[in-house]
Structures are given as structure tokens and as C-alpha cells.
């Protein structure tokens, strides 16, 4: 089987050779199966974004190798095998909502009608079917974030890379968006690598939670969630859910004996 993402003995050093060099990632091994939802969690600076950007070929590893859909990351990027969403929606303010969603399709050279058709489909998917001609600044933060997700999904990429996409949202919108993301990914068979600071969010969304720790950035544990694919509001109250939250929390603590204070761990739990 070809993995959606395969990370083999990857090291990433920033400013290598200079005095202020940072070991952002050491010895990273990770396989993500097609259709799987994997979260990366860990304290600030442990290299979550760096790992995501390595997969996206926005950075190159110092050592080791990666495969995305069985290809070199560069090739996967050129083929637009993945869509990406960041903490900030990052919509282009001069483009209407539909035009923002169409951006990746334009760059792929799709013709106008096909683009517009797909944008409408995507708006339907993120439950904003009437806002095609609105400008981004006319939307709420949560709505903008949904448009950014629609943009990431527009070309139907087999892989979705998300870096704290719900970080800026209030708790209610956030839970709503989590449910929507699961629904969308189930409907489109998308593999997701998802960075978050929130333990409940990671557990609720994921098949597996990858726990990382800093200095140097590394994977300390991988927690199998195993709550099944069908998640609903009931999931959040289930006993198994709390057990998994505790397991991830413990893993975070265990991995952070080297240097992280209790307050920092608590800070993560608060989110």
C-alpha cells in the first residue's frame, strides 16, 4: 500500500552550521494511511508547523526523506496533491468568496464554468451557499475560515494539511467546524494531517494523535484513538473520549519532562 504521507528519519535544522542553529525536528518517522485523520499536538516550538511545511514542500529536510502519495514532495506539490489551510483564513480581500475558492482552480487552468460550478459545490459543502458574491470582509471570522477550507478542498486534493485552522474561533463555532470538517472529509475520502493545541479537538477529530515534544522536536508517542469514524455530539460525552484525552495529556506530560513547566502543560490543556 502507498501511504498518503510517509516521513522517513527526517531531521530539520534551521541555520545549520551557524551559532544560533535550531534543531527543529530530529528522527521523525511517520506513516499516514489514505483516508486517515492524524493530528499533531505538542507545546509551542516542538516543530508541528515545520513538519507540515516539510510535507507541503515549503521547506526541505536537512536529512531523511518524505513521500507524499508515493512521490517526492516537490512532485506532489507541482501536481497539487494537497490543499493547505492555516490558522488565519488568509482570503484575498479583493476577490469575492467564490473567486477565492476558485483561486487554486484558476492556477490549474480550469475554464470559467467548471470553476464556478465547483466553487458552488464547495459553498454548499461548507454550508454557505448564498454567499458566493460576498466579499471576505462581509463574513464573520468563522465563515471566512470555512471559505478557506473550501478553497483548500476545491481541487479535491487527496490530502489536506491544516495548521491550527480553528485556533481563532470561539468554542461553539469551533465545535461546529470540527463536525463539518469530519463530515466533509468522510464525504470526499480526504486524508488529513491536522495541527492543533487542543487535546479534545485532537481526540475528537483523529484516528491517531501524534504527540510531540520540543528541544529538539521529536515524536514522543502516538495515541490510537479508536472511537470509530462516526462521531457526533455524543462522542464528546462518551467515557472513551475522556480516557483518550487523559492518555494524550499524560503522553504530553511524559514527553515534556525535559524542560517544560507544569504551567505550560496546563496552558495547553486550557485551550
Amino acid at each position: 500500500m502507498t501511504f498518503a504521507v510517509e516521513v522517513l528519519a527526517v531531521h530539520k535544522v534551521f541555520n545549520s552550521g551557524r551559532s544560533n542553529q535550531v534543531d527543529a525536528l530530529t528522527d521523525i518517522d511517520l506513516q499516514v494511511a489514505p483516508g486517515e485523520f492524524v493530528s499533531l499536538i505538542g507545546p509551542s516550538g516542538c516543530g508541528k508547523s515545520t513538519l507540515l511545511r516539510l510535507i507541503a514542500d515549503l521547506l526541505e529536510p536537512t536529512a531523511g526523506s518524505l513521500l507524499v502519495n508515493g512521490k517526492a514532495p516537490r512532485q506532489a506539490r507541482l501536481d497539487q496533491d494537497y490543499g493547505m489551510a492555516f490558522q488565519q483564513a488568509g482570503l484575498f480581500e479583493w476577490r469575492s468568496v467564490a473567486k477565492n475558492i476558485e483561486l487554486p482552480l484558476e492556477l490549474k487552468g480550469w475554464d470559467k464554468d467548471k470553476r464556478r460550478g465547483r466553487a458552488m459545490e464547495m459553498l454548499e459543502l461548507v454550508k454557505l451557499p448564498n454567499r458566493a458574491d460576498a466579499m471576505p470582509w462581509q463574513l464573520s471570522g468563522g465563515q471566512q475560515q470555512r471559505i478557506a477550507i473550501a478553497r483548500a478542498l476545491a481541487a479535491h486534493p487527496p490530502l489536506l494539511l491544516m495548521d491550527e485552522p480553528f485556533g481563532a474561533l470561539d468554542e461553539m463555532t469551533r465545535e461546529h467546524m470540527q463536525a463539518e470538517l469530519l463530515r466533509i472529509c468522510a464525504a470526499t475520502q480526504t486524508t488529513v494531517v491536522f495541527v492543533t493545541h487542543s487535546i479534545p479537538e485532537a481526540v475528537y477529530l483523529s484516528d491517531r494523535v501524534v504527540v510531540m515534544s520540543p528541544g529538539p522536536g521529536r515524536i514522543t508517542e502516538i495515541v490510537q484513538v479508536g472511537l470509530g469514524r462516526a462521531r457526533d455530539e455524543g462522542t464528546r460525552e462518551a467515557v472513551g473520549f475522556y480516557e483518550k484525552i487523559t492518555e494524550v495529556r499524560e503522553a504530553l506530560r511524559g514527553g515534556n519532562l525535559g524542560g517544560l513547566t507544569n504551567r505550560e502543560v496546563a496552558g495547553i490543556e486550557d485551550r
Partner: protein, 304 residues
């Protein structure tokens, strides 16, 4: 929805226009009251016009400060004794001629400035190499450069095109206006945040697509103030060049010509000055219209 988009579109207020008219009216009122009452009163009763023996405040006579009403009357008088065109027609025609040159100069300046900015944002080497020359270029006195371009241009023959005096005015207006454009456009092209550039990278977008879909639209808000500066620079360049190279059909030259009639018709030169004011306002109006068009979908100020 379309209708919703229109709801929040910036109101095209008439207020700035009213304020402009009021400000002009105030200026004329101050002028009139100074020459009629304040000036003579200061001069005769107080003698405060003189400080340490220097005459600071203008003498309030018809030669130095002709009445606003005389200026208005000048518009109706014949251009020269016995001529069939009156001053208004002459000034209007000259202003229109200069406006065409200034708009042409602004267009060329924009084209060259944006081109230079594209090269500079694409290749950092070009930016480092070109910028010092651009800065130096703007310190060359126009008065010296204008006659030179006539000499150089005269030796040029491009596909049978003959260099004219207006070509010099056009080139010098463009020469002055391209600099603010280049600087503003460069800042604009470099304004997108790293996240936006990374997004384009994640789509494997070429440099050129990134420019068209991200850098150029992001630069529009930077281009408007640059265009305003460039517009004034173009007007200034054209008017000064007209005087310098002796281009007789522009409003700049008209100032020079009317000035020479200062003793016989002192109010006449102010009609040409009014022409240059209109010229500047017309340029500003053109640029505002362009700005309105290009930013019609942008968030209104309170959202930005």
C-alpha cells in the same frame, strides 16, 4: 449576494467638493479683504509691513495684487488687442493641451515605474543596482534637463518620427512621475504577508501568476497615493518644461507670456494661474476616478 455588496459600497460623498468650493471662496475673500482693507490699513496707519527695513507683506496695489473681479473680467477680454479669441478660450485651450501632455506623461511614467518595480521585486540584484540611480535621477534639475532633451531628441530619428517640443515636455513629465510610482509599486508588490506567498507556493504557482493574482492586486492600495504624487509631478514636469523649452501652446508658457504684460494687464497672468489650478484638479479627478474603479470591491475604511 450582489445587492448586499452594493449596500456597503463607499458613499460617494459630495462633502469634499463642497469643502473645496468653500476653501477656494475663503482664499479669494482673504485676498480681496487684504488688498482692499487690511493691506492699506497696515501700510498707512501702522507701517508694520516693514520689519528691520525689509518689506515683508506685499504691497496692496493693483500691480502686485489685482482684484479678483479684475481677474474674472480678464477672462472675457480679447487675448490681444483686436484678436477674436478671448482670454478664457486661450487659457482653456492651453490648459487642455497641457492636460493631455500631463495625462500622457502620467501613463508613460506609470508604465515605466511599474515595469521598474516588477524588475526590482523579481530580482533583488536589480533593486540594489537600480535604486541609487533612480534616487539620483530625481535630483537633476529639470530646468537644465529640458533644453538638453530638445538637443538630444533633435538628433534622434525613430521610424520617421520627428522629436518635437511637446515630446520633451511629455518625456520630462514622465521622468518626474515614474519615480513615486516605482517606489510605491515596489512597496506594494512586496506587501503580501509570507502566508499569502506560501499559499501561492503551495499551489506551485509561477512567479508570474503569483504577481498577477497576488502581488499586483495587493499593490493597488499602495498605487493610489503614488499616483497622486505622480500626477502632481507630471503636471509640474509638463508646465516647467513648457516654459523651459518654449512650448507655446501650453498653460505653463501662457503664464510666462502673460507675465510680460504685467504692467499693462496685471490681472491677466492670474487667468493662466487659474488654468494650472484647474489642470492640477483635473489630474486629481482622473486619478480619483481610477482609484474608485479599482478599489470598488475593497473593504471600506472602517473595515480595513
Amino acid at each position: 449576494m450582489k445587492s448586499r455588496g452594493r449596500e456597503v459600497v463607499k458613499r460617494r460623498s459630495v462633502r469634499p467638493f463642497i469643502f473645496g468650493v468653500l476653501a477656494l471662496g475663503l482664499l479669494l475673500a482673504v485676498w480681496e479683504s487684504y488688498r482692499n482693507w487690511i493691506g492699506p490699513w497696515l501700510g498707512t496707519e501702522r507701517d508694520v509691513g516693514k520689519v528691520l527695513g525689509f518689506k515683508l507683506l506685499p504691497r496692496a496695489n493693483d500691480l502686485a495684487m489685482p482684484s479678483v473681479f479684475d481677474m474674472a473680467r480678464e477672462f472675457g477680454r480679447p487675448q490681444v488687442r483686436g484678436s477674436s479669441t478671448n482670454v478664457f478660450e486661450a487659457v482653456a485651450q492651453a490648459t487642455f493641451n497641457s492636460l493631455q501632455l500631463a495625462i500622457g506623461a502620467l501613463l508613460i511614467g506609470t508604465f515605466v515605474g511599474v515595469g521598474a518595480a516588477i524588475l526590482m521585486s523579481r530580482f533583488k540584484v536589480v533593486q540594489r543596482g537600480l535604486m541609487p540611480y533612480l534616487v539620483i535621477s530625481q535630483t537633476i534639475p529639470l530646468i537644465a534637463l529640458a533644453p538638453l532633451t530638445v538637443t538630444w531628441g533633435g538628433q534622434l530619428s525613430l521610424f520617421g518620427f520627428q522629436w518635437q517640443k511637446w515630446t520633451s515636455a511629455l518625456v520630462l513629465g514622465a521622468f518626474l512621475s515614474f519615480f513615486p510610482i516605482a517606489v510605491g509599486a515596489l512597496r506594494g508588490f512586496n506587501s503580501p504577508p509570507p502566508a499569502a506567498l506560501e499559499l501561492m507556493d503551495s499551489y506551485a504557482a509561477s512567479w508570474w501568476s503569483t504577481w498577477r493574482k497576488l502581488r499586483l492586486p495587493a499593490a493597488i492600495p499602495y498605487l493610489t497615493p503614488a499616483m497622486r504624487l505622480a500626477g502632481s509631478a507630471a503636471v509640474f514636469g509638463v508646465v516647467v518644461s513648457e516654459i523651459s523649452v518654449g512650448l507655446t501652446d501650453g498653460v505653463g508658457y501662457l503664464i510666462l507670456a502673460y507675465m510680460q504684460e504685467g504692467t499693462s494687464r496685471p490681472a491677466k497672468v492670474f487667468t493662466a494661474v487659474a488654468g494650472t489650478v484647474v489642470l492640477g484638479l483635473a489630474m486629481a479627478a482622473v486619478i480619483n476616478a481610477a482609484d474608485r474603479y479599482f478599489t470598488r470591491h475593497r473593504p471600506p475604511e472602517e473595515f480595513a
